[in-house]
């Protein structure tokens, strides 16, 4: 097994000893969310500022079904993946024909549209109060209300998501999406229908976001209105950039840093987003590849010193 996977496995095992299981779960859930975004951002070169659309839609739909129809956990997760993909299909279809700033603003605008639907439709979503009472029904004798058991479920799903994403980015599709990022005109000219491929990236990213959304709703037992808001879209973007959008593992590291910072430092210091702001500025100015790049730079620097 390769080094990153060993590191990730070790973190999964150790994390619940260091932070509360809920926070540990949140880290991996956010990482799944980040993986989905990174297929768009890092691989296809599309800055989507509306990822919480898919996250939130999936959380509301699956959460509602869990609450009112008592569907089982895996069915809920499947629904989430489906809703995430479907909402991404709709949003993506409208966005992929645009490029640059217009693309970004359109993902943002559609995110706002979904947000205000959730805000207004209080009979279902609870509006500003959120949708509480999302259960974690037991399945085949496994009690998911136990935080550690739920953490195990989240971890397994995260590993599966990471493995699937790894296969996708190493497939021809991964190569084609990167070709689109590198040179859209040439990608089209050599025979790829660029909008169609962008849409596919959206749908896959949406499916990952949807999975994360349902896990999030079950984790906290509530779908807060923020889950579909633009701040959430910004957070995942933030986390991914800090971790490093150029690599598969970037969003995982980013999620780790982001959630851990926001949970631990926020209790000590109310102005903690300032720290994030500083980290973000540093990344943008000096480290386009985020933590991953800092890490590889450090190691090449060390090995060059060893040789000398």
């Amino acid at each position: 097994m390769k080094k990153p996977w060993i590191l990730i496995l070790a973190s999964i095992v150790l994390l619940p000893f260091i932070v509360r299981p809920a926070i540990a779960s949140e880290i991996w859930i956010f990482a799944i969310f980040g993986l989905g975004l990174n297929l768009l951002l890092g691989y296809t070169g599309l800055l989507s500022f509306g990822q919480s659309t898919f996250f939130g839609s999936a959380a509301y739909v699956a959460g509602w079904l869990l609450k009112h129809y008592g569907i089982n956990v895996f069915f809920a997760l499947g629904i989430g993946v489906g809703v995430g993909a479907l909402s991404a299909l709709v949003v993506g279809y409208l966005c992929v024909q645009r490029s640059g700033l217009y693309f970004i603003m359109l993902t943002f605008a559609l995110n706002q549209l979904f947000y205000f639907i959730a805000y207004q439709w209080t009979s279902v979503t609870g509006g500003e109060d959120g949708m509480p009472g999302v259960p974690r029904p037991a399945l085949a004798g496994i009690d998911f209300t136990n935080p550690l058991v739920y953490y195990a479920l989240v971890s397994v799903l995260f590993l599966a998501a990471l493995w699937i994403m790894k296969r996708i980015v190493e497939s021809p599709l991964g190569k084609i999406l990167q070709a689109i990022r590198e040179n859209e005109v040439r990608a089209e000219a050599v025979g790829y229908n660029v909008p169609r491929f962008k849409l596919l990236a959206f749908v896959i990213g949406g499916a990952f976001s949807g999975l994360a959304g349902v896990l999030y709703a079950m984790l906290f037992g509530i779908v807060p209105l923020e889950a579909i808001g633009f701040v959430f879209s910004g957070n995942v973007l933030f986390a991914t950039l800090i971790g490093g959008s150029g690599s598969l593992y970037g969003p995982v590291i980013g999620s780790f840093v982001f959630i851990w910072l926001s949970e631990s430092v926020s209790t000590l210091w109310a102005r903690w987003p300032l720290l994030l702001g500083v980290a973000f500025v540093i990344v943008v100015l000096f480290l386009r590849g985020g933590v991953v790049e800092a890490w590889t730079r450090f190691w090449t620097w060390r090995s060059s010193k060893h040789k000398a």
Partner: protein, 249 residues
């Protein structure tokens, strides 16, 4: 028989007729050059042929089949591949990946598109390596495209077009910006491709054109003003006045 044909092809941008009533006929297996001063509409003609944008009027026929208005991504699958006047490659990719993406696009099947590893398409990999070998870049297969010289990037530009295994190769000034030495290399490269592919070549450098072409068409302000063998074109008084005269005297 004509493999690629245009009939009264016209493209207007507002009041400007960039391509005006152009009827061309490219014989299978030939090297057909298109010359003309800057702004004559040569590149616009290529953009029409490859579906970058549709013509205002007129038709494009490939093998007798009407392909007018076919979008660029589809045109590639019909067997038309182009290189660009301004280098248009995938900078962060290795040279092999540059040609691999092009080879995969026109490969036999896209099965396993989102799941199979890229290494497990032997036929695509083979075609990609062959394209690099054809332009003499195989030794640098693993080097990122942004790190090679301008001359090598022009060769890569050509390799991407070759990797598609096209029936017609459209080369837009392959020697643009090359030193005399690099130009000689490029000319001999184009010569080795001659006969293996049907080639349409846009070029400014008259000596290249005269030495490699089977036929030459001359464009001037969007219109075709002459067509013939290199000897006929050299003798043509109108061409001399419109084009050659201005440059070579």
């Amino acid at each position: 028989m004509a493999l690629l044909e245009t009939q009264s092809l016209t493209k207007s941008f507002g009041a400007l007729r960039a391509v005006n009533d152009v009827s061309l006929s490219i014989e299978a297996g030939s090297l057909h050059s298109i010359i003309g001063p800057n702004g004559a509409g040569k590149t616009t003609l290529f953009n029409l042929l490859t579906g970058t944008f549709p013509p205002t009027s007129g038709r494009i026929l490939l093998d007798g089949r009407d392909i007018t208005g076919t979008p660029a991504a589809r045109v590639a699958h019909l067997g038309l591949a182009r290189s660009y006047q301004r280098t248009t490659v995938f900078p962060a990719f290795s040279l092999l990946d540059n040609v691999w993406v092009a080879a995969f696009a026109t490969g036999k099947s896209w099965r396993g598109l989102i799941w199979r590893k890229t290494g497990r398409y032997p036929e695509v990999g083979e075609r990609a390596r062959q394209a690099l070998a054809d332009v003499g870049l195989l030794a640098k297969a693993d080097v990122p495209a942004r790190e090679i010289s301008h001359g090598e990037q022009r060769q890569l530009e050509l390799a991407i077009a070759l990797a598609a295994g096209p029936r017609v190769l459209l080369l837009d000034e392959p020697a643009a910006g090359l030193s005399p030495d690099e130009t000689r290399k490029m000319v001999s490269l184009v010569r080795t491709l001659k006969g293996r592919y049907t080639i349409v070549l846009i070029e400014h450098k008259i000596d290249i054109i005269m030495s490699v072409s089977d036929r030459i068409s001359v464009m001037y302000f969007g219109s075709l003003i002459a067509e013939g063998t290199p000897e006929e074109i050299q003798r043509n008084a109108e061409v001399r006045r419109a084009y050659l005269g201005g440059v070579a005297a």
